[in-house]
Amino acid sequence: MLSFTSQRLLVAFSVALTVSIVAFVLLHLSGDLATAIAGPEATVAQVAEIRHQFGLDRPITAQYFDWLWHALHFDFGNSFYYRDTVVSLVVSRLPVTLTLGAISLALSLVVAVPLGVLAAVYSDTIIDRLALGFCVLGQAVPTFCLGLVLIIVFAVQLRWLPVSGTASWKNYILPSIALGWYAVPAVMRLSRNGMLEVLSSDYIRTARAKGLQPSVVILKHALRNAIIPVVALAAVQFGFMLGGSIVIEAVFNMQGLGYLAWEAIARNDFPVVQAVVLILAVIYVALTFLADVANAFLDPRIRLA
């Protein structure tokens, strides 16, 4: 277990490092940063001055290691746009995005897993078909569309919930539904298929041969095994949700990390873009690592290998 954990940690660390390099290089390839920072009216001399001031005239590897060194000390420099350090910007925005992501993920799991289990237990019946139909619907509606529909129906027409902002927990309901909706079809399908496979396995027949109650057979013997791949998928879906939060935070005007990224990209605020990309990558990698560890706890064949 210890070697498993350290192995996974090593993988997680190298992935984060790779992402940071890729993000850095892509940003520098996307155009001349000095020109972008200086703005369209700047003279050649001003651009050169800025290039020197920001250290952009040094070799890219030197710039990268410099950036990485500071990043490791939680120093991402200052925002070009806001009069603030990148770190304090990120720290003020992160809770909104993490809360939104966590609620969305929880919501989608709470809907998708039981639905998948039901569809498998009652496979080829009307319940199974309804669940599948729900899935197809889920995939057909884009996140931002659903977000807008939810706003129109529940906020504008019915006035049950606030339209935008992050003032109270009520503000999180609609965006979480919009964001979580996206993960439901994939999670449901995987739960259903995993459950179907497990239900036809020999050890389920053994459990039934013992005369156990159907609830024990399904919840204790089947679900425990069927859920293992779902844990890994949930981590991946959380990553997608972090990506999707850029759109959803814009639609619902929530001051989160996604909104910050969107603003920063629009304003050529490179230090912020770089920091946000790295932080999203680190969160994603950390989650994948946690999913691996959770799987090891669920599956003794990994844990005791």
């Binding site: 027949r205 053994t206 041969a209 013992k210 095994n225 003794p300």
Partner: protein, 326 residues
Amino acid sequence: MPLLEVENLVVDLPVSSGTLHAVNGISFNLERGETLAIVGESGSGKSMTSLAVMNLLPKRANRRANRLVFDGIDLANAPNARMRTLRGSRLAMIFQEPMTSLNPSYTIGNQLTEALRCHRSVPIASARDRAVQLLEKVGIPGAARRLGQYPHQLSGGLRQRVMIAMALMCGPDLIIADEPTTALDVTIQAQILHLLADLKREFGMAMILISHDLGVVARVADKVAVMYAGQVVESGAARSLFGTPRHPYTRGLLNCIPVPGRTTPGAPLGAIPGQLPSLIGPQRGCAFRERCAFAAPECAGDIAFITAEPGHDVRCVRLGALGMAA
């Protein structure tokens, strides 16, 4: 009253090209403490027969029977809840696939004790005591330590011993062992079969033993039923059936096993040429006729059982012509 009465049991499975007649009207009786062996080649319906008794058939399967009675309880019409109180408690089954029949996520101890705790609601400590006792009985070394282990930490032979111990937990009246050794190493097959026979005697259970090992069957079985294409083609006391096998299929099967002293070691065994007929669609006439050396036109008609000796029945119309009738 017999412990188990099966009369005209039918199991049908809908498949894409029609109806598959996996079990085609078989009948047998089993007394308390008796061992019935079911033999027959792969696909002849042995597993379907045992699953039909346990009511563990695949969801799509249809089961019908004139009589399917266990200790006076009508299994054919028993509601699921009633079946659950019997399964694992008075009716136990050991499966063909020891490698996959245990849940990989739970410890041996957990899986061993759960049937006992479900049916008898005994405290966990006494359930564990019984588990250790049975693991020792089935010959697992370090029984107490095994309770905390997971299936993947055990070899196939040990897992099948665990399955046997599991089946014994509630002290069943009938144990169905469906080819309990086919998936195992040849060297331990006979060991496991003899272990089963000993346990059966010690616990006073009745047993349905499905096995390819006719040598062991001849030693441990009281009665034998030979199955072919979903039917019993010959059944009788082991002594009578092995002494004078009458059905051409049974005789073919018996030629397939090595006999010490008569078969030269390493020599290829006889095999019955041909293969099982399709079980899909209406079945008529003797199912064996395409492979039978004695087939004649009348074999395509209806075939009834002929009693060759008291208790020894054979399903073949040409017994007289073959000089095999009583």
